[in-house]
């Protein structure tokens, strides 16, 4: 097997003196959709942000396209054809949809901007209707589409997505996951997806990782993980179990 596109090796990340990642290993191969699932506070978003150099890992390495990017600044990493849609979407609220998309394209040299724009409109036609509207006035689903569209404007090889389904109606979630599947299938876009919505994420992904308390506890193909009892108990039927556990104590 060839070298992975992105690999996280023994990464430890701290917030001050509090450890958030306790030595994490994750690999993402070119053309794959890989998902990372886990409970709230497990460190999923921290891993995503650590890959992007904010905060930087205190120990371990992040290798991308064969280069060590552990000590690179976020804006340098953004220029290496990696894009991140962070948690909470972080649309620029007082910029128009068009300006938000222009911001996504700042790492490109500007050629092919119109083509990239068309690609985003094909995936998310709603954005075309909202083009001159301010980002802050969009609905949650539209903001998520804009966040993904903005990330795609940089023509990434790998797209890191943090909880794209958070707070969205099931229909919109389906639409967004279909868009990701389509991007992966037709353009070979590599996707690393962090999700609490484990069922949809594992069905979409080729491979998955389960994170608990800052360490990876399980890994396998999406289908395998879907069948594992511990995954089902904790993340798929967890609604009931969680309520009972909370009531019990």
């Amino acid at each position: 097997m060839s070298e992975p596109l992105l690999s996280v090796q023994g990464v430890k990340t701290y917030y001050g003196n509090i450890i958030a990642l306790r030595g994490v290993d994750v690999t993402v191969n070119s053309g794959e959709i890989v998902t990372l699932i886990g409970a709230n506070g497990a460190g999923k978003s921290t891993l995503m942000m650590t890959i992007f150099g904010s905060p930087q890992a205190r120990e371990g390495r992040v290798i991308y396209e064969g280069k060590d990017i552990t000590r690179r600044r976020p804006d340098e990493i953004a220029r290496m054809s990696m894009a991140l849609c962070p948690e909470g979407r972080r649309i620029f609220p007082r910029m128009t949809v068009f300006e938000n998309l222009q911001m996504g394209a700042i790492v490109t040299d500007g050629t092919g901007f119109d083509r990239d724009l068309e690609r985003v409109f094909t995936l998310f036609p709603r954005l075309k209707e909202r083009l001159q509207q301010r980002g802050g006035t969009l609905s949650g689903g539209e903001q998520q589409m804009l966040a993904i569209g903005r990330a795609l404007m940089s023509r990434p090889r790998v797209l890191l997505l943090d909880e794209p389904s958070l707070g969205l109606a099931p229909l919109i979630v389906k639409q967004i996951f279909n868009a990701l599947r389509e991007l992966n299938r037709s353009e070979g876009l590599t996707v690393f997806l962090v999700e609490q919505n484990a069922y949809h994420a594992l069905r979409l992904a080729h491979r998955g990782y389960v994170m608990v308390n800052g360490v990876i506890t399980l890994t396998g193909t999406g289908k395998e993980l879907l069948k594992r009892d511990e995954v089902r108990a904790a993340y798929l039927e967890g609604g009931k179990g969680g309520v009972e556990a909370a009531a019990g104590h």
Binding site: F52, S54, R73, P74, D75, A78, R79, L84, P86, G88, R90, F92, P93, R94, M95, E99, Q102, M103, G104, I106, V107, G136, R150, S154
Partner: protein
């Protein structure tokens, strides 16, 4: 009526200068949430640069006024921007990520450094600037009180409008301005998209200083004097203007500048010249108590 018109002209002239300086305060606050208390002194330094430059220009025998003004503007813009850039680099950037008050304290220190540096280098006395734009228009000559519009006042207004148009274009239409606004709205996200945040912050200081340089030259053309302490009161008033307009809001800074200029002038004209500063600073107190987000500012509630 004529008296009112005269005060209006004077107020708009003064307000234009405040507005140009206020933009520097508001932009810096917008992007790093810090009041750059050395900004008034950057304005003062720019008047000194213009002063030295005009002596040099006159001494090499250039006498055409448009050429002199253009040269002055150019020299002052370049050197003042360099000051703005250096101050950020030396006094604020090393403190980024430190506690919130650290750069504020550093700014006050920088203000003292600049004042003392100029006092030592140029002396403590008031310096006068040659009258470059003499003459005036006068209206209502038949009445008891002719209204006078000096050409220097007219140039202050015209230059301010032109500079504000260029500035607005820069911020709203260019990719630099877009990156600047992105940083202002979400510094971290801008970095994740590939914006070099440090460079954008530097740029913000450079633009602020450049506008202060224009204001400095306008101030000299209109008032004709400056000294090492000239940045203090003007700076605080421009800061008041930025707060009145809503700190962080660019149109607010200009609106606030004009308002403060008018209030001060009308107070001086109708109530008392001696207490005009009291009027301006009372506004600051009133705004902070009753309208903390200013005229065009956004309330400090962030949606998460």
């Amino acid at each position: 009526m004529e008296y009112f018109l005269q005060q209006l002209i004077n107020g708009v002239t003064l307000g234009s200068i405040y507005g140009l300086i206020a933009i520097g305060y508001t932009m810096v606050y917008g992007i790093i949430g810090m009041i750059n208390f050395a900004h008034g002194d950057i304005f003062m330094v720019s008047t000194m640069i213009s002063l030295v430059a005009v002596v040099l220009i006159l001494s090499i025998g250039i006498t055409a006024v448009p050429v002199i003004l253009l040269l002055l503007l150019l020299v002052s813009l370049l050197l003042t921007s360099l000051y703005g850039w250096t101050v950020e680099r030396m006094a604020y950037r090393p403190l980024r990520g430190s506690f919130r008050l650290a750069p504020l304290i550093s700014a006050i220190g920088m203000s003292i450094v600049l004042q003392n540096y100029i006092q030592n280098a140029q002396g403590a006395d008031k310096k006068s600037f040659p009258t470059l734009i003499p003459g005036y228009m006068s209206f209502f000559n038949e009445g008891s009180f002719p209204v006078i519009l000096q050409y220097s006042q007219l140039s202050v207004m015209v230059v301010t409008v032109v500079v504000l148009c260029i500035f607005t274009w820069l911020v709203t239409k260019t990719s630099l301005g877009r990156a600047q606004r992105a940083c202002e709205q979400d510094l971290k996200m801008a970095a994740l998209l590939g914006v070099n945040v440090d460079r954008t912050i530097s740029l913000t200081f450079v633009i602020g200083a450049a506008l202060a340089a224009v204001a400095g030259l306008m101030h000299l053309i209109y008032y004709g004097v400056t000294d090492f302490y000239a940045g203090f009161v003007v700076g605080i008033k421009a800061f008041t203007a930025a707060v009145l307009g809503g700190i962080g809001s660019l149109p607010g800074a200009v609106l606030g500048g004009l308002t403060i200029g008018l209030i001060e002038t009308f107070f001086a004209g109708y109530v008392s010249v001696d207490y005009k500063d009291v009027a301006a600073f009372s506004i600051l107190a009133i705004v902070l108590i009753f309208l903390p987000s200013g005229l065009l500012g956004r309330p400090e509630v962030e949606k998460v």
